[in-house]
């Protein structure tokens, strides 16, 4: 019988360092695997989380190591919740330019928020835009 981790959580504030962010993401991915998550779900979660963490460190905190990024993760076999917040000024998340338009499709930037919204079940920003909460429910397997 496979033992599945029923509940795991993580709540840390880290300096704005991409390597520290990456280590935290790897911890989450390991916890998801231990809770029985697999396949496309894992990819989608990692993709969305990479975007959120990089945005917080690079755009929110401008890579200032004196500024902290808070990462809160909660994993069960059916649901994952991820909260990422930074100490930056935020951004206008209600008016993010559509990167799929003809004018922007060739630009090498601006797809992070779109990917987060498409890959996650729910993405909620606070008013200021310096905190995001992403939720995903585990995909149901379609029987063959």
């Amino acid at each position: 019988m496979t033992i599945v981790q029923e509940h795991w959580s993580f709540d840390k504030s880290l300096p704005s360092d991409l390597e520290l962010g990456r280590v935290a993401i790897e911890e989450l991915m390991a916890a998801l695997c231990a809770a029985g998550w697999e396949g496309m779900d894992l990819f989608r979660i990692q993709m969305a989380l990479e975007e959120a963490v990089v945005n917080a460190i690079e755009h929110g905190n401008k890579r200032d190591s004196n500024k902290m990024v808070r990462l809160f993760f909660e994993v069960t076999p059916q649901k994952v919740v991820m909260l990422i917040s930074d100490e930056g000024a935020g951004f206008d998340h209600r008016n993010v330019a559509d990167p799929t338009t003809e004018e922007l499709i060739d630009k090498p930037r601006g797809r992070g928020v779109m990917l987060m919204r498409e890959l996650m079940g729910e993405v909620v920003f606070n008013d200021l835009g310096n905190e995001v909460t992403m939720t995903k429910f585990r995909s149901v397997e379609v029987p063959e």
Partner: protein, 119 residues
């Protein structure tokens, strides 16, 4: 010829077939280096037919995707041709979501892509 640490380069009938050293293309330093190496294929090596083979790539962040977009711009400016092949379903989904499947020529196999260069 430029030196490579993030990619390997081989030749197939005039097509430069590029493979990626990293299975997970996510580290920002590696992505910067990858971008430089890809761009040098065009700007230094003057290669005009480039195929990116993703068969070993399990994950790539949007920062890596941005490097591909920059490469595509350089290839087009040099009147060259760029194709991608062997993308896993998860990575192909990212191209679909971002509509980049309309910007890049995506092929299922390397053989398909090589044949398409000859058209």
């Amino acid at each position: 010829m430029s030196t490579h640490r993030r990619i390997t380069v081989s030749d197939d009938g005039g097509v430069s077939v590029i493979r990626f050293v990293d299975k997970k293309i996510v580290d920002s330093g590696s992505i910067e280096q990858l971008g430089e190496e890809l761009n040098s294929l065009v700007t230094v090596d003057k290669r005009s037919m480039i195929l990116l083979n993703f068969d070993t790539v399990e994950f790539m962040s949007s920062a890596a995707l941005n490097k591909l977009i920059s490469l595509n711009t350089k290839v087009k400016a040099a009147a060259g041709r760029l194709k991608l092949c062997c993308l896993r379903a998860e990575i192909k989904e990212v191209f679909t979501i971002t509509r980049l499947d309309r910007v890049f020529d995506l092929r299922k196999t390397e053989a398909d892509a090589i044949a398409a260069f000859k058209l």
